[in-house]
Amino acid sequence: MRAWACYHYELIGYRRTWKGSVFSQFIVPVLFMLSIGLGVGTYVDRGGALGAVDYVSYLAPGLLVSTAMQLAVGESTFPVFSNFEWSRYYYAMQATPVRVRDVLGGLLGFLLTRVLVGAGAFLLVMAVFGAVHSPWLLGTLPVAGLVGLACAGPAIAFAARVTSAANFSLMFRFVLIPLSLFSGVFFPVERLPGWLEPLAYVSPLWHAVELSRQFAFGAFTNAASWHAAYLLVWLVAGWFLAHSSFTRRLQK
């Protein structure tokens, strides 16, 4: 019930700011589909480097989960930091019966809602681009939700620990952007230099991309459940990390 109140709080805030999120959440992935998918894809398909798969169909399921991760992480940085440092709403909440786990639950629920709405809209875009190949495609929705929450946990923990908002631009540039560029969204990680390849396997986004692609084509390998398990580990660990960081910050 108390977590529900926190979820409700997030929704009320979003009612005032949703317009600004339309571009980054709905339009940017479509632009990437056009520029990289159709544009660069023209040349990829000409050479047949991906076998029978066309580049738009290859890119789309990756872009879907990558957007989910960026959305969830982005919403876990400045908004969370602001509630600690600028508006200090979290301290106000602490004066009510709301517990840390309620705040976190409400926030993650809100992020899940946002991710699922965004991913659902992107599935329609995929249909327009002719990138729908299997009814299993709907399974990419839970994958998007899972990777969003799995990456949100550590991001929330980070936002609860830092003392300056300048740290976020560093996090975006050194963590989020490299993750989104080298986790197999745009090209297979096997093509990375040997020393870099193992790093990609650590990235939660890579596991989500693989899983999402398997759902999109309805062709599963034995690794599928391992990918899901890996993301679940991040989700659980991220929750505890976020919980302890939140608690510590609120005691200050």
Binding site: L34, S35, L38, G47, A166, L181, F182, R191
Partner: protein, 260 residues
């Protein structure tokens, strides 16, 4: 002459102030260099491997990384200039009220504009120079004309610096900047950056040719690949004109806004 020296000195106070501030945030400066490099590696090299042998420009085969690299350089010159001259200037003007403090000294509005612009150019120029070195090391520059890509990038910085400053004087809130970011993103993806615009429908090609980043990309690409022709002068003139218009508007508006 003496007044010009004095003006330059006063403008340099702004420059110095920025240096002092960023000395405390060195990673924010350094990290700005990495973004175009990461895109170069991911899309230029990673995706480039998928199109090797099939990528052509005007019917001629070309290495994809060679095609993307100058575009990333132009993009970073644009965003570097915009961050300082539009976003940071707006924050300092509206929220920090920094310039009000400067105006209480002998520094005037025009000198503020020149000081900020020169810092934006220095920052952008440092990124461009470093990026050019990366390109040279990776064998992505095929001619000595590439040396001129550095002044080319500075010209892009000047054009977007003037434009950004002019825009910053018209905007009302951070929310308005969402539109600026949006337009920059669209230019980043469609200015012949990742694919030649010949692929686009005719109306889109025409639209792209009106926008400034396209001219920046074409200018730098011509220089780093050594395909130098009279067309490059056209791109340079476009950028210079944009810089002149932007700076004229900016200096008028700054005076009005700051001295009211």
């Amino acid at each position: 002459m003496l007044t010009m020296v004095a003006q330059a000195k006063r403008a340099s106070a702004l420059f110095e102030r920025n240096v002092v501030v960023y000395k405390r945030l060195p990673w924010n400066i350094v990290s700005g260099f990495f973004e175009p490099v990461l895109y170069l590696f991911s899309i230029g090299i990673g995706v480039g491997a998928l199109v090797s042998g099939t990528f052509t420009v005007d019917g001629e085969p070309m290495s994809y990384a060679l095609f993307v690299a100058p575009a990333m350089m132009a993009q970073s010159a644009m965003s570097g200039a915009m961050i300082e001259s539009a976003f940071n200037l707006f924050g300092k003007m509206r929220y920090q009220k920094l310039y009000d403090a400067f105006l209480a000294t002998p520094v005037g509005p025009n000198e503020i504009a020149w000081g900020e612009l020169s810092f934006a150019l220095a920052r952008g120029g440092a990124y461009s120079a470093a990026f050019l070195v990366v390109m040279a090391v990776m064998d992505l520059t095929t001619s000595w004309w590439a040396v001129l890509a550095l002044p080319g990038a500075l010209l892009i910085g000047l054009a977007f610096g003037g434009l950004g400053m002019a825009i910053a004087t018209f905007l009302r809130s951070w929310q308005d900047f969402d539109y600026v970011t949006g337009i920059m993103y669209v230019m980043f993806l469609f200015s012949g950056t990742f694919a030649p615009i010949a692929l686009f429908p005719a109306w889109a090609q025409w639209l792209v040719q009106v926008t400034p980043l396209y001219h920046g990309v074409e200018l730098l690409r011509g220089l780093t690949t050594g395909q130098v022709g009279p067309g490059l002068i056209g791109h340079a003139v476009y950028l210079a004109a944009l810089a002149a218009i932007g700076l004229t508007i900016a200096s008028r508006r700054m005076g009005k806004l700051l001295l009211k």
